[in-house]
């Protein structure tokens, strides 16, 4: 089973990196959507099925906290797991987000296997991509 992923980060470069790391990690990705802030993420959710959201904290227009609050109020989206990808891993900073309903967090810098472990822990293994498929991926 392939999972649809939504990456939310105001840096296009960071989104490209996360997308690349997801591919390298071998996690089975279906469609990979991208939003530059929480508002764009909600717009994407209006028209697309997403299994998991990987989000930055600090973004203009609508930040990670406001996005999570909006998700939790929505009948359809409240169960979509959100994983923060952040430079901030101090417990005092992360705890309020976990209380809001964020599933987990990944601290930057991170390795592909960390992303894979976290996503597998939340969504399940899916289908493992073999090395030849990774090499043929165009990213």
């Amino acid at each position: 089973m392939a999972y649809n992923v939504l990456i939310v980060d105001d840096s296009a470069t960071m989104r490209a990196l996360i997308r690349k790391v997801l591919v390298i990690s071998g996690f089975d990705i279906g469609e990979c959507f991208e939003g530059a802030n929480g508002r764009e993420a909600l717009n994407i959710l209006e028209n697309n099925w997403v299994d998991i959201i990987l989000s930055d904290l600090h973004m203009p227009e609508m930040d990670g906290a406001a996005m999570v609050q909006a998700l939790k109020k929505h009948e359809m989206w409240r169960h979509i797991p959100v994983v923060l990808i952040t430079t901030e891993a101090r417990p005092e900073v992360i705890k309020p987000f976990l209380s809001l309903g964020v599933q987990d967090y990944i601290q930057k810098p991170f390795r592909p296997e960390t992303i894979r472990q976290k996503l597998t822990g939340i969504l399940g293994e899916g289908r493992t991509t073999d090395a030849s498929e990774i090499e043929s991926c165009d990213f």
């Binding site: 430079t87 101090r90 900073v93």
Partner: protein, 145 residues
């Protein structure tokens, strides 16, 4: 404090850029050609400080290529600046985690600027760590914010 910053530097460069810095001794010279990129992030709090790095464009390009897994000549100026900003952000975040700093210390938005070779020479860094990264100079600095 500098030891924790040094540990954060190794962690970020090795994990995200596959680069392995070596500390330079005081007085040890490594010539680098400009222009240079300088990126920093302010840690606002009871005692605000600014943490950042300064690298020649050629090293910034190498870092960006490794970061994105692409060729150096495919890197745009925007990507170069984005990656430097992200690097200072990760350094500051990793540094705060290692210090176990309280939530009163908050990371601000990172900034980046270009420096000519002349500007770089004039600029005196308050507290700095110097590294040899593939025979290019990477300077890390801490200033009052």
């Amino acid at each position: 404090m500098l030891a924790k910053l040094k540990a954060a530097t190794f962690e970020v460069l090795e994990t995200m850029f596959f680069l392995f810095p070596e500390s330079l001794e005081e007085g040890e010279i490594l010539r680098s050609r400009g222009p240079f990129l300088r990126s920093s992030v302010t840690i606002a709090g009871p005692q605000s400080i600014r943490i950042g790095l300064q690298v020649p464009q050629s090293l910034a390009r190498k870092m960006a290529a490794n970061f994105l897994g692409t060729d150096e000549d495919q890197i745009s100026q925007e990507q170069l600046e984005d990656i430097l900003k992200e690097t200072s952000n990760m350094l500051a975040g990793s540094f705060l985690s290692k210090l176990e700093a309280s939530a009163a210390f908050k990371l601000q938005t990172p900034v980046v600027q270009w420096l000519s070779a002349e500007d770089q020479k004039k600029r005196k860094l308050e507290k700095s760590l110097r590294f040899d990264v593939e025979e290019e100079l990477l300077e890390l600095f801490v200033e009052k914010g």
